[in-house]
Symmetry: C2
Subunit: 580 residues, 2 copies
Amino acid sequence: MLQSKLIGETKKEWPNEATLKSHGLLLKGGYIKQMASGIYTFLPLARKVSLKVENIIREEMNALGAQEILMPLVATKTLWDMSNRYNTVGSELLRFKDRNGNDMVLSMTHEEATVFSMLNEASSYQKYPFSVFQIQTKFRDEARSRGGLIRTREFTMKDAYSFHTTLESLDEEYDKFYMAYNKIFKRVGLKNVIAVKSDTGMMGGSMAHEYMLLCDAGEDKIVTCSNCNYSANMEVAYTNKIDAATIEKRDLEYVETPDINTIEKLSEFLNLDASKLGKAVIYERLDTKQTIIVFLRADREVNETKLRNLLLIDDEDLVPKKPLDTDNIAYGYVGPVDLNACNVTVLYDKSLENEQALVFGANKKNYHLKNVNIKRDVKDAKFVDVSKVEKTDYCPICGKKALNITNGIEVGNIFKLGDKYTKMMKMTYLDETGKEKTPIMGCYGIGVGRLIASVIEERATMDNINWPVSIAPFDIHILPLDYTKNDEVKNVSDKLYDMLSKKYEVLLDDRKKSLGVKLKDADLIASPIKIIISPRNLKENKLELKIALNEQEFIDIDDIESYISLKQKELFENLNKEEK
Amino acid sequence: MLQSKLIGETKKEWPNEATLKSHGLLLKGGYIKQMASGIYTFLPLARKVSLKVENIIREEMNALGAQEILMPLVATKTLWDMSNRYNTVGSELLRFKDRNGNDMVLSMTHEEATVFSMLNEASSYQKYPFSVFQIQTKFRDEARSRGGLIRTREFTMKDAYSFHTTLESLDEEYDKFYMAYNKIFKRVGLKNVIAVKSDTGMMGGSMAHEYMLLCDAGEDKIVTCSNCNYSANMEVAYTNKIDAATIEKRDLEYVETPDINTIEKLSEFLNLDASKLGKAVIYERLDTKQTIIVFLRADREVNETKLRNLLLIDDEDLVPKKPLDTDNIAYGYVGPVDLNACNVTVLYDKSLENEQALVFGANKKNYHLKNVNIKRDVKDAKFVDVSKVEKTDYCPICGKKALNITNGIEVGNIFKLGDKYTKMMKMTYLDETGKEKTPIMGCYGIGVGRLIASVIEERATMDNINWPVSIAPFDIHILPLDYTKNDEVKNVSDKLYDMLSKKYEVLLDDRKKSLGVKLKDADLIASPIKIIISPRNLKENKLELKIALNEQEFIDIDDIESYISLKQKELFENLNKEEK
């Protein structure tokens, strides 16, 4: 198309509101427009990209035999009550009433809807296994949407659901999706995506993987081992062994620590490394109003996901405890010995298990207790795993100290759900012997917008989006110098445009702008093939070609069509070649 | 694909809840599943159809140069306040609050969102004219959804919006869409679609057409003239001249009519045709609490759309008046002479203009007044057009008595919006001289689900959906007799399936079912090409072919591929040939 007609204008300045590269570039390039917090319009450039991404996903889903369906965004409370999630999911599930006063939700995921849609549609074992998928709108009322398309409230998602009569069949299909996902990420140009074990969270089920794009912009923390294949989301990462920092047993000893009520102050006051101190982290759980005190070594942090999973606490019900005068807790001096708080759950992290002599609060203002040994000093203390893995820990699989902690963006996830939804919703099939059985399920998601933003995060510089050939909005960008002034340039450009448009999606910059401005804009539109047409090169019958990020080349006009065909093929081949 | 794996099971019985053919067939064929009132899942068969329909629409939109975008479903009150529609649209606009207490809506149309999305993205006159479109989810909280996919609450719609600097440019683009729409309807297999002038309603603007599929299942009434091209939705249809039924002037005369308080009774009591009587229809307008009395000839009906437009009353504010003892109205005996009701707007329909001697109520219980002549008996009476056109009226264009009134389903609409939205939302561009101007708009909609249901309403019988080749879920249906028992049948079927699947979407009925059951189901899946394979025909090296609704043919196995290729081409050609 002609660029003078393209809707979506490039901005000269970096957008103030953009903290992430992808967010800034999408706004600067005229791809998206914010309509409300976490809600965007995809302007033509972004829609072109998203249609291509959707198509790649659709092809891979069809290839593994999943059947496409389309479920509604709006669902009833009745449906979500069937899984009890209407009550248990937090306020990210948007609840509202329709005109007749019925309670409804905007679906953020479709397990219930899928099972309901499948009721009576797969009543014989012969239909199994099968998978269905949709590419559809979701709404998740995030408290804090962020980073442009990285975390939005309304988004397009491919979600797939598989149904099985045996666990083996679920394993097989799970592996198929696992492989299809790797293919999808490759095809959209992502390299550093790894699948990590993750928390099953509100979905339930027995096993889950997240596909993580390792990159600085990610808000997830990923633990990987450089010696073996271990990888996990920090939320569920663990270690089997923590070296003790204190190895000599000594007797308990009070020490006066006036106004020393933080780990930093205590460490300085006693001149001891944090690993030789213990700390208490205090929470309140809103559902039962109980206080939770977690004791752990002071150089480690509480892993709240593990903590919630251990105590079966919903996301929103675990909050830091606000100090109260009346609750008999010596804030700043809380310790495991002689703790007399009421209505409290006390947990001992396994980082304390082998420590012989840590310093803890003495449960008395301005006093600490030295040489605490939990096994010795706390009767029947049980140790649980509620702390975050540290870079210096042992890998739980190979046992080597070779862990890395990297930021990651979740670009996809797959879950083995088991029979959680099918059982609660009474979905059944008849087996070979005519007996009613409950099928088991897997589910598999990829967010389209986030995937697009992730491609930018990994591939772009601050000026150049550098789309891969597979999802660039245009295949070829023709950039003429003096298009509106020089007849020969215009002639050649127009002819080339007509010729190439028969086979490719071509954008011709017909605007009355300097070549400098055109090239800047071109880096934002980022066609993998750019043809620069200037009067000087035309004299030698040459065109300037720029393929992806390569150096420019000068090609004879007569050779251009065959050369481009060759180069485009190469670009696609490179994409499939690129190793993770 | 193999039919044993296809999700969505055919039902033996006609579904009780289905009143419309399309609704019943979609349920019976396993195409859709109701999730809530007016909310459906598209199972694989329906999704296949809708993807094809979406693709046809997308192709035609691209062909006229519209640029695809994607806007969100969820919008803010702030956005809808910009056009004042947050307040003026009725409760079909679903309003809710997000987790932070912000007022939001589920968009039922996207004029505001489009203008907002375009702000600053088309700031120079050079970008004009341009059009954008999306294929996207909408929600309209219908009080009564009905007829399966004919009127749903959540639906996929193609909506397009054009922007112009001149009225001529809007006219040109409007014509382009007009033509593109005709092409779309042809391509999806609809024949009896006509474009009729319609009410602009809540959209505003200067001109609107609805595309109406003429068929019994329609809930709209369409007026057409069989002598000229006049066609209009009943809501806006008019006539220029109504023959008087009473032509002799006489003096007013009271007549006692005990308990004669309906037109039927009065007509019988006086032995007069309804055309010689007058009637009063009484409304209340909720916004101002005024009473509205419409007088018209008793054989005609009030056209409430015209009435609302005349008095500028919102949809929901006009309701039939409930009789009250205190309002000084002699219900059943209301007439234009000596009417003493308070706070009342009185309208005289133009059906009364030339009547010389009608019988009306006498505003006194049990009395009527004969020989009423409004012009003579009511001071300064003005006549307005608020009655429905009748089949026996004169065509307003050619003047002939050749009107027809048919039922129609609205399958698309186009509006000239003018500057209603751009002005209120302060969208501007710079013209050639650098002056700020307000662009004008058109908008253009087609609902995907309703279009699919309409195709069924027009083409199907009660047993056979009869899809056109362009949107059938599968191109070819292979139906073997004894597939699971007869090796030769299985062999031939499998080979044929493999061969044809390379070029077509093929469904192979591999189920252990009788041919009778298979053929019944096949009529619901309605592939335009069916191949029936039986041991008997195989002996003669023949296959039985059924193309669309034609008689079956017997074709040599070796000729089948080329024959099918020919027939499929013919089916597509016929579709484009078919005249409206």
